[in-house]
């Protein structure tokens, strides 16, 4: 019975992702995406990775997606934006990407068909994760922090409003 939870969560994740990518209203799409992320978090729980699940919810759905929402609200596109999106989303633009994606999917599934294994079913606790993180992976932690710093500085600089509007020269 518990296994069926996984399949339900998987279905929810997939369905909401597809919805997210086919909406014309950005906020709606974002909400669907959050649902998808929550479903994936459930899957993490079921796989015995509570730390990952918690991070997924808190950081991914809670920070990154909220950032998206902030920016969309800041841009304030409104009805005009929705209209434009609908114009851009004619059925015919889906054809070739769908075909290519289908081919890719087929290839990847062929590769994965040979895998015959089961997940172990043990829980990996946050304590273990912490020990591993600050043990063998401590360098990675430092690099990640530097990356975040770079992201911070970059985001500040790229998003700045330039006074000189002609030509768009960099300051």
């Amino acid at each position: 019975m518990m296994e069926s939870l996984f399949y339900i969560a998987a279905f929810v994740a997939l369905f909401s992702t597809l919805q997210a990518l086919s909406r014309s209203n950005a906020i709606h799409a974002l909400i669907y995406l959050i649902i998808s992320l929550l479903a994936v978090a459930v899957i993490f729980f079921l796989l015995g990775a509570p730390f990952a699940a918690a991070l997924e919810i808190v950081i991914y759905a809670g920070a990154i997606m909220v950032l998206f929402v902030f920016v969309i609200m800041m841009l304030n596109l409104g009805e005009a934006g929705d209209l434009r999106e609908r114009q851009w989303l004619q059925p015919r633009v889906w054809f070739i990407p769908a075909i290519l994606a289908a081919v890719l999917l087929a290839e990847l599934l062929i590769v994965e068909a040979e895998v015959a294994a089961y997940t172990r079913g043990v829980e990996v606790s946050p304590k273990e994760v912490g020990l591993t993180l600050f043990g063998p992976y401590v360098l990675a932690v430092e690099l990640a922090s530097m990356l975040l710093l770079a992201g911070l500085v970059g985001a500040y600089h790229v998003g700045r409003r330039f006074i000189d509007r002609t030509g768009g020269g960099e300051r």
Binding site: P97, L100, E107, I110
Partner: protein, 611 residues
């Protein structure tokens, strides 16, 4: 004296060099003095050489220097003197000197006096080298030299593009013959290993049996060259147009000397031709057809110089006929007498043109018998010799040819009959010319009389045309003896009398007016025949249609360089591919993403397929 025969071609060559270097700075009298004097001195040297040679008439060879030596090709500059050479040298320098003297007055009003004598001297030098050469390579040098000088002199008045076109035509048509001759030279060298004429004929006689295919091929190629230079069928079309040059040039080059170079070549290499009876018969046939074709054409011309040009073609046909039937001495004899009377006729025609302010149409002349007496007598004597009336020089030479033709086993009588018809035509057209120009009513009055520089050469040539037949040529040691049996007497009488019939018919048509040619001409057939014969049997049109137009079409199609199409195609493909590839750089993110996905699919496909 014999060691100094190198002076003979050197003097005109030096004259030409001096005149070319001093272009425009020498006074006219000095130019004339150098031009005429160099040839005169050369003629004097020839006379002294002849006297010295008489004491010991054996072939003399003078080696000057080795021109080039590559492997076993040894080309030397050396001269060979025997009876044949002496005859040719005498004709060239003797007649040449008279023509140079004549030119001094004829070209006196011309602005390019200096250039004229330079070219003319150069021509004489080249022609002398041609006849004195002892190997075929040096002969070819002289051959090409006279070709160049002919081009320069025919196109002398180059300001008129028609003259330039005539000069080019002459050069190109003779070039075709020259190429055949060059091929013949290559073949002879490849087969026999030497180009020295005497050595070559010796080896050929040992190595080749009569009728050998190599001999036939080599002599046929040499014949090609001779046909081009001597204006025989089929390469004769240049000579009538070459009359665009000054008249003394026509006299010297296109009557007395250059056009006889082909005859000389065949006579000089006669041993090779004796080894190829097929070619020899072709020589005779070419001669026969040419003399008939040119005879009919000359009958229908109205330009005085063109009549004489076709007459020259016809008479050289007689020389070819003589060589073809084995009458070598007769051919050379006719060459000499022809030089005399044809030069005389051309110079007299030049005097007519000169004194009638450049009128060329005989139907606009007339009655000049009383107005230009010297010219009239020159023309009369020259025409008589041309028509081979009894006891003129032409009579003796042409008679020898006719009899020799008759004696050829097999087709002899046919050749004789054809030559006889040609003789009839010759008499007819030459006296047609005389009667139309010198008798009847004068339509154009002469505006001047010829001076001594025109009259004296005419007089000397008159004497030679009358008495030249009695000159004994020292040709016996050069050529093999011809058959000795005499034809029946009636043949001889017919040969002698036919020209008289021609004269009579001309009298009836053009002088006495008992018969009228106009009624014949007026009929439809007559008009067509007249057009046909007037245009030289339409050969010019034929050549234009057969060679010139396809060549021009090829040139036009090649004008856009179709061969480059392939290379341009490579470039075009390159550019197209470049443009095609640069189209893929759209700058759009979604496009790049799509292409990445495509690449990923392909890679995975390869991995899966290989794995």
């Amino acid at each position: 004296m014999l060691e100094l025969i190198w002076l003979i071609p050197l003097l005109p060559l030096a004259g030409a060099t001096v005149l070319m270097c001093g272009a425009g700075q020498l006074p006219r009298s000095l130019v004339a003095g150098i031009g005429v004097g160099s040839v005169g001195l050369s003629a004097l040297c020839v006379l002294l050489t002849a006297l010295a040679w008489q004491d010991n008439p054996a072939p003399y060879q003078l080696h000057l220097w080795t021109w080039m030596q590559v492997d076993n090709l040894v080309a030397e500059v050396s001269f060979y003197l025997d009876g044949l050479t002496l005859v040719m040298m005498s004709v060239i320098t003797g007649v040449g000197f008279l023509i140079h003297l004549y030119s001094a007055e004829f070209m006196a009003d011309d602005a390019s006096f200096n250039r004229y004598f330079a070219y003319l001297n150069l021509f004489v030098a080249a022609m002398l080298i041609l006849v004195m050469a002892d190997n075929l390579l040096l002969l070819y040098l002289g051959w090409e030299g006279v070709g160049v000088c002919s081009y320069l002199l025919v196109g002398f008045w180059y300001q008129d593009p028609a003259n330039g076109a005539a000069a080019r035509k002459a050069f190109i048509v003779t070039r075709i013959g020259d190429t055949a001759m060059a091929l013949g030279l290559f073949l002879l060298f490849a087969e026999l290993g030497t180009l020295n004429i005497q050595a070559m004929t010796g080896i050929a006689v040992e190595r080749w049996l009569p009728g050998d295919s190599m001999a036939v091929l080599a002599t046929a190629l040499l014949l090609g060259g001779a046909v081009g230079k001597s204006a025989q069928l089929p390469l004769h079309t240049w000579l009538p147009d070459a009359m665009a040059g000054p008249t003394p040039v026509s006299a010297l080059i296109h009557a007395a000397t250059m056009v006889t170079a082909g005859v000389y070549l065949i006579a000089r290499t006669h041993e090779l031709f004796l080894l190829a009876p097929a070619t020899l018969f072709a020589v005779a046939l070419i001669g026969l057809f040419t003399l008939l074709l040119a005879g009919f054409t000359a009958l229908n011309q109205h330009d005085i110089k063109r009549i004489l040009a076709y007459s020259t073609i016809s008479q050289i046909g007689y020389m070819f006929l003589a060589l073809g039937v084995g009458a070598w001495s007769a051919g050379i004899f006719h060459l000499m007498t022809h030089a005399f009377f044809k030069a005389l006729l051309f110079l007299a025609a030049g005097a007519v043109i000169h004194c009638l302010h450049h009128e060329h149409n005989i139907f606009r002349m007339g009655g000049l018998r009383t107005r230009l007496p010297i010219v009239f007598w020159s023309f009369l004597i020259g025409s008589a010799a041309l028509a081979a009336l009894p006891f003129t020089s032409g009579f003796f030479s042409k008679d020898q040819i006719l009899l020799a033709a008759y004696q050829l086993p097999g087709t002899g009588p046919w050749l004789w009959a054809g030559a006889l018809l040609g003789a009839f035509l010759t008499a007819l057209y030459s006296f047609r010319l005389v009667f139309l120009v010198f008798f009847g009513e004068a339509q154009t009055e002469p505006d001047r009389q010829p001076g001594w520089r025109i009259s004296w050469p005419l007089a000397i040539l008159c004497i030679l045309s009358l008495l030249g037949g009695w000159i004994a040529l020292p040709l016996a040691p050069v050529f093999p003896a011809t058959g000795g049996h005499h034809p029946p007497a009636v043949i001889e009488w017919i040969s002698i009398s036919i020209p008289l019939f021609g004269l009579a018919l001309a009298y009836l048509l053009y002088l006495g007016n008992q018969l009228s040619a106009d009624k014949l001409v007026a009929s439809a057939l007559g008009r067509q025949l007249r057009e046909f014969w007037h245009s030289g049997w339409r050969l010019d049109d034929l050549y234009d249609w057969l060679w010139v137009r396809p060549y021009q079409a090829i040139c036009r199609s090649l004008r856009n360089e179709p061969v480059d199409l392939f290379y341009n195609l490579v470039v075009q493909i390159n550019i197209a591919m470049h443009q095609g590839f640069s189209e893929t750089q759209t700058g759009r993110l979604r496009w790049y993403a799509t292409s990445m996905v495509t690449g990923l699919i392909l890679l995975l496909g390869i991995v899966l397929g290989a794995g």
